[in-house]
Amino acid sequence: MASGPRVSVVIPALNEGRNLPHVFARLPQGLHEVIIVDGHSTDDTVAVARRLRPDVRLVIQPGRGKGNALAAGFAACTGDIVVTLDADGSTDAAEIPRFVAALHHGADFVKGSRFAQGGASSDITRTRRWGNRALNGLVNLLYGTSYTDLCYGFNAFWARCLPYMRVDCNGFEVETLINVRIAKAGLVIHEVPSRERVRLHGRSNLNAFRDGGRVLCTIALERMSASSRRSVLPRIARRRLAG
């Protein structure tokens, strides 16, 4: 990937010092930059990242949550293409060239999907699978999309898509927010099969019911106009959702 558009990889990380070596080992050659967005880790995440990759860019997120981390990472990107990865080793960075190829074939935004033909997941629980399916179906119904996997963090897109995303949430609902907003903007979306592996070390911060509820709220709120969203929720509820 040395020639052609510059690829920036954004990896939000919170206490993933033990997983980063596995993630970095799978990164392809020729990347423009790798950005680790640290969520105030208490382990050696930052030191490990610097040791593994001296040219890594480290960004300390201002708040908390995956959405906040991604927003900080996007703001720091200087490449033409942005790829988002998870730091827990469940997503395979070696798939990045396939995502980039789909962008070169006319897509504005490429979504990884564990449930497209060729995709798989060794990590997802039954509850999360059915929740994902239900929320996925709801988004397809409300927004006219054909997504097969709503809540997966492995995506690639042209940096020009960033103004359409306007990430302004903090939690795990960020992927849903992005998926809905790019659909509303009419961007060309392709899905690419992806294989999710079991998290290597540590425990996920994801709570199926709490975060599923936040995803549902996001889906509903995005149906409203921006002014309606601002007026419907009282300030306290907005603070709660912002986590």
Binding site: P163, Y164, A185
Partner: protein
């Protein structure tokens, strides 16, 4: 000769009549034709018939009143020409028992040939001595759907007041103006132009001329994308003001997924502005009047990024630097064509053919 032009309440104008029909009426009156314009729609002030430049305009709030008037006056009118956007109007006029009826479908013909309008369009085409389409694309579709009416088809493109557009003075407006013209309906795909603003430089400003049922949705969409400060909805404007906007625009966009005439493209060519148009046959027909560059086509279903790239590319061409435009149909030429058609219908022995 006395001609009745029947139309629905179209774009806002001083008389409440579609400006193109109004212009045709005035041009015919200048050629010595007695013209009566019958508009079905809300009654404008003052009530009762109005008229200027030899054209009498009557408004009918309900179609039945218009239908009764036609029945009552049919013997005194040589030709009735219905410009029908809502198909029921065309059907109603067709059933008024008129001797010489000319029918021009105003809405995109693809819509008129499908349920629930198909049988109304068929009835109107069946009763009309002539069906006048504004583009070859529309005529081909009518011919395919109603082959028995092929011999009665004529093509008269929509005219443009080229001289008035070229003489108009540009408005003083900040930034690079990207102009799009309504009505604000879903098929015009104006939301694509709004979405493109999000990835264009801040100096680009979108001006939307026109009004329609999608206005509220489009405003909310612009707010959602946080480009409201760079998108201005100016509503319907008079023809002279529209001409000034055409001369002000750095780029004119026409992104309709369906259209029955490439009027925005023709107006843009007349103004000498680069055009970004959806890749539909009607726009290609209109583009055939441009001898040089200045036109960029985008997919009717494509991404706003594609539209943004096309706008940027078109803006680099520069205003009034497009190629020579020959034979853009003028309003005067259209009036001459229509008058010749009406006079031919007035010949003895003309009957339904086919």
């Amino acid at each position: 000769m006395k001609v009745a032009l029947v139309t629905s309440d179209g774009r806002a104008s001083s008389s409440g009549v579609d400006p193109k029909v109004e212009a045709l009426g005035h041009a015919l009156a200048c050629r010595g034709v007695e013209v009566e314009v019958l508009a079905q729609g809300p009654v404008r002030e003052p009530p009762g018939p109005t008229g200027e430049n030899g054209v009498v305009v009557r408004h009918f709030p309900i179609a039945r009143g218009l239908w009764r008037h036609l029945r009552r006056t049919s013997r005194s009118v040589n030709v009735v020409h219905v410009h029908s956007a809502p198909p029921p109007l065309g059907l109603g006029v067709a059933r008024a028992g008129l001797r010489r009826l000319v029918f021009t479908p105003r809405a995109p013909i693809e819509r008129l040939l499908h349920w629930p309008y198909a049988h109304m369009t068929q009835a109107a085409v069946g009763r009309a001595l002539r069906t006048v389409c504004t583009s070859r694309a529309d005529a081909d579709l009518v011919r395919c759907s109603f082959p028995w009416a092929a011999k009665r088809l004529r093509i008269v493109p929509t005219g443009v007041d080229v001289n008035a557009i070229r003489a108009a003075t540009p408005l003083a407006y900040p930034g690079r103006v990207v102009l799009t013209i309504g009505p604000l309906e879903r098929r015009k795909r104006i939301e694509r132009a709004i979405a493109a603003m999000a990835s264009l430089d801040p100096e680009f400003r979108l001006v939307v001329v026109g009004d329609g049922p999608a206005r509220r949705r489009l405003r909310a969409y612009a707010a959602d994308l946080e480009v409201s400060s760079r998108v201005e909805f100016v509503g319907w404007v008079s023809e002279p003001v529209l001409h000034r906007w055409l001369r002000t625009a750095r780029v004119i966009v026409a992104l309709a997924e369906r259209a029955n005439a490439g009027l925005p493209v023709l107006e843009a060519l007349s103004a000498g502005a680069p055009v970004v148009a959806s890749d539909i046959q009607v726009h290609h027909e209109a583009a055939s009047y441009a001898a040089g560059g200045g036109l960029r086509f985008v997919s009717p279903e494509g991404s706003p990024l594609e539209v943004a790239d096309a706008i940027e590319g078109a803006a680099r061409i520069g205003v009034h630097a497009t190629g020579a435009v020959d034979d853009i149909p003028s309003s005067e030429a259209v009036a001459d064509g229509m008058l010749a058609l009406y006079e031919a219908l007035g010949q003895p022995g003309v009957a339904l053919e086919g």
